[in-house]
């Protein structure tokens, strides 16, 4: 299977991003409805994740999912821009759900970077959709102030023993692995003394309880860790290096992943534009102002993608992308809500349900991945050289 895929895609190794896109679109078009989700509205969490898994297998087996990833982790190599293009072409067509699609790009790169040996084993099944990962950072008392997290890991023989609680962990109830931040040193607080672990969700002592979001979706969970054993070999990076691992993940979560989200937003904006009566001046203003924000995000994001491809992304830079996307996301679905004039509040159609869920999810855009206030603090501190706040 792998041989077939490489042979199939070999001419693309030196392809420009546009050549890659053209080849990919040809493949997508040739598959036709085979790639379409079978659920017809927003879909349940299980439905959309299952569909994504099936699609990922197809994409992996035909090579597309492997472009831009190093060969050591089952990739084919080539520009990391190819990964962003794949996401964009899928979300723009509504073949995957943008939020769920971001997981590989948020969590994968840090494991490749900090744990190359482990990555050779765990990344290929993740790319193929066989295994899903989740991100165990936030806790009941550690939200914006991630450095105040309290989950601990004690060393015992060749294992670590994790105790504590995580909160808001997206799709943990459908995940096979979790990247968990825990305190490993006594007597140090804040960002020091934290280690990142690659934890099997099937380990004894992990209890996962799904929570319903305001959109009535089981999107995130609370997780309880009661003496969960994790072998030494599952430390990501070095002991005490967890903060650096977290920063790497957050830099991905706040910038590079938004190329595909931009495509997702434009897809929805196009749908609203199609449903707008010509001459509706209010709708024109709403659509255009949302569109302008998405295009500004895309223009900015393109520069970010190029920095990523060249290996120069600075964490603070992606905070700008995060603030831009959060506002654009909300503007798009606010425009939809206002243009539809009551559909989101009053109707029970599939479209109303889908846009209602998207509108509600967009409220979290200024929260997940670090709130917009926290991003502004980062920008002020690291990009504007302002004196530190008190």
């Amino acid at each position: 299977m792998l041989h077939r895929a490489v042979a199939l895609n070999a001419p693309l190794i030196d392809a420009t991003p546009d050549e890659f896109r053209v080849a990919l679109v040809e493949w997508i078009d040739a598959r036709g409805t085979e790639l379409q989700p079978t659920y017809h509205d927003h879909g349940t969490t299980a439905q959309l994740l299952d569909h994504q898994r099936d699609l990922q297998r197809l994409l992996f087996d035909d090579g597309w999912m492997r472009w831009g990833w190093p060969t050591s982790v089952g990739g084919i190599g080539g520009s990391p821009l190819f990964r962003a293009i794949l996401g964009e072409e899928l979300t723009t067509r509504g073949l995957v759900h943008s939020a769920a699609w971001s997981m590989t790009e948020v969590l994968g790169p840090a494991v490749v970077h900090f744990a190359p040996a482990l990555a050779t084993e765990v990344v290929p099944p993740m790319l193929r959709g066989d295994e899903r990962w989740c991100q165990g950072f936030s806790e009941p008392d550690a939200g914006s102030d991630l450095g105040s997290l309290r989950t601990t890991a004690r060393h015992s023989g060749d294992d670590w023993i994790i105790d504590g609680q995580k909160l808001w962990t997206s799709w943990a109830h459908h995940a096979q692995r979790c990247i968990v931040l825990a305190r490993t040193e006594d007597g140090v607080a804040g960002s020091r003394g934290i280690t990142a672990f690659f934890v099997d969700m099937g380990s004894p002592g992990i209890d996962v309880r799904p929570l319903q979001t305001m959109a009535d979706v089981d999107e995130f969970c609370e997780m309880f860790f009661d003496a969960v054993r994790v072998p030494d070999s599952r430390v990501i990076g070095k002991r005490g290096e967890g903060w650096a691992v977290a920063q790497h993940i957050l830099a991905c979560e706040r910038g590079p992943i938004f190329w595909q989200r931009g495509g997702w937003l434009l897809r929805h904006l196009a749908e609203v534009a199609q449903l707008t009566e010509p001459g509706d001046a209010r709708a024109e203003q709403l659509l255009a102002n949302a569109y302008a924000q998405v295009i500004a995000l895309r223009a900015r994001s393109r520069a970010t993608q190029r920095l990523v491809a060249a290996g120069h992304l600075r964490g603070a830079d992606s905070s700008i992308d995060k603030v831009l996307i959060a506002a654009a996301d909300q503007a798009v679905f606010d425009a939809a809500r206002l243009v539809f004039a009551g559909e989101i509040e009053l109707d029970d159609s599939d479209r109303a349900d889908r846009f209602r869920k998207e509108w509600m999810y967009s409220r979290a855009a200024t929260i997940y991945g670090g709130t917009s206030e926290i991003q502004r603090d980062i920008i002020a501190n690291r990009l504007l050289d302002l004196p530190r706040g008190s």
Binding site: G262, A270, R298, L324, G389
Partner: protein, 327 residues
């Protein structure tokens, strides 16, 4: 032009644009080969000149030249040294309006080169058809306007009559005007971004230097977040201005770029003025000149409201939200 040449060009232009203003800047740009650059490599020359003018707060005849640039592409007989293209009034898509054979032209000349003998105006008739009209300068009523920013030479021009020469019509005229407006919007977007950057930097430095309650005001989160938001808006506007040169769909990309910059303008003006507070309100401080310049540029070829109308109509007409930017 490779990256090194471009950087050298930008440096040379920045130095010139920061050291001269008005007609002496125009003369300096001419010596530098600006008109040639505009004709052959607008995507290098226009951003460099206009962004530098924005940052330095200077004004040359570059906008006049940009407005004339497309005439040659459409073989419209309007040599830039003897012709000025009229800027439409705010809220108007064209300076000319035709009602049967009667034509009314109302518009602006903004930093035009002296010595022009002819004025060219895009004109729209009752069916929405565009034509390019030419009238002799001596037949036009012209009045100097001081307005918000007297440093810029602005003439309010008007003409009524039946005997304007039609120098282009049909598809040629429409394409010429679309291209002219798109180029002007891109140029002005760079200038607006440059102007906003200067305002931002004045406010940022003030936040570092100014002490109250025993600490720099830049340590107060209310101030820090205003600056961070401004930075985000500027980064988005600058990136959009850049991509507008690479996109095939230039009219939509240019209108969107200026819309993004105009939105940033409203935010940056509000935030920077507030941070500079009393000192920024004085005539001695350089802030107000940049701020007035920003609002003048914002007004030309569509402010945020007008451009949102343009862009929104386009999205509805197409039933699409084009991606514009590719990786």
């Amino acid at each position: 032009m490779d990256a090194e040449e471009l950087e050298l060009l930008q440096r040379t232009i920045t130095r010139l644009v920061g050291s001269a203003d008005g007609s002496s800047l125009t003369a300096g740009l001419d010596d530098l080969g600006w008109l040639d650059l505009l004709a052959t490599e607008p995507s290098a020359g226009v951003p460099a000149v206009f962004a530098a003018q924005g940052r330095a707060g200077t004004w040359s005849s570059a906008l006049h030249d940009v407005l004339g640039a497309a005439t040659a592409d459409f073989s419209i007989a309007a040599p830039p040294d003897s012709t000025s293209v009229i800027v439409p009034l705010p809220r108007s898509a064209t300076p000319g309006h035709a009602d049967g054979v009667d034509v009314r032209i109302e518009g602006l000349l903004v930093g035009a080169r002296s010595g022009a003998e002819w004025l060219v105006a895009a004109s729209v008739d009752c069916d929405g058809k565009i034509s390019a009209l030419r009238v002799p300068v001596r037949a036009v009523t012209s009045e100097r306007r001081q307005g918000f920013d007297p440093a810029v030479d602005i003439q309010r021009v008007s003409w009524n009559g039946r005997d304007a020469a039609t120098i282009a019509e049909g598809e040629v005229a429409r394409s010429w005007w679309t291209a002219t407006v798109a180029l002007a919007r891109r140029a002005l977007t760079h200038q607006l971004c440059g102007t906003l950057e200067t305002m931002f930097e004045l406010a940022r430095l003030h936040a570092v230097d100014r002490q109250q309650f025993g600490r720099p005001i830049g340590s107060f989160q209310a101030v820090r977040h205003k600056l961070a938001e401004s930075k985000v808006a500027l980064a988005g506007a600058a990136a959009t201005a850049d991509i507008a040169w690479e996109v095939d769909d230039e009219p939509l990309a240019s209108a969107t770029a200026k819309l993004v910059a105009s939105r940033a303008c409203a935010l940056v003006v509000a935030h920077t003025q507030q941070i500079l507070a009393g000192v920024g309100f004085t005539a001695d401080h350089p802030y107000h000149r940049a701020m007035k310049r920003a609002l003048l540029i914002d007004r030309l070829f569509g402010d945020a409201y007008d451009l949102a109308t343009v862009v929104g109509r386009e999205l509805v007409a197409r039933g699409d939200a084009p991606r514009l930017v590719a990786l």
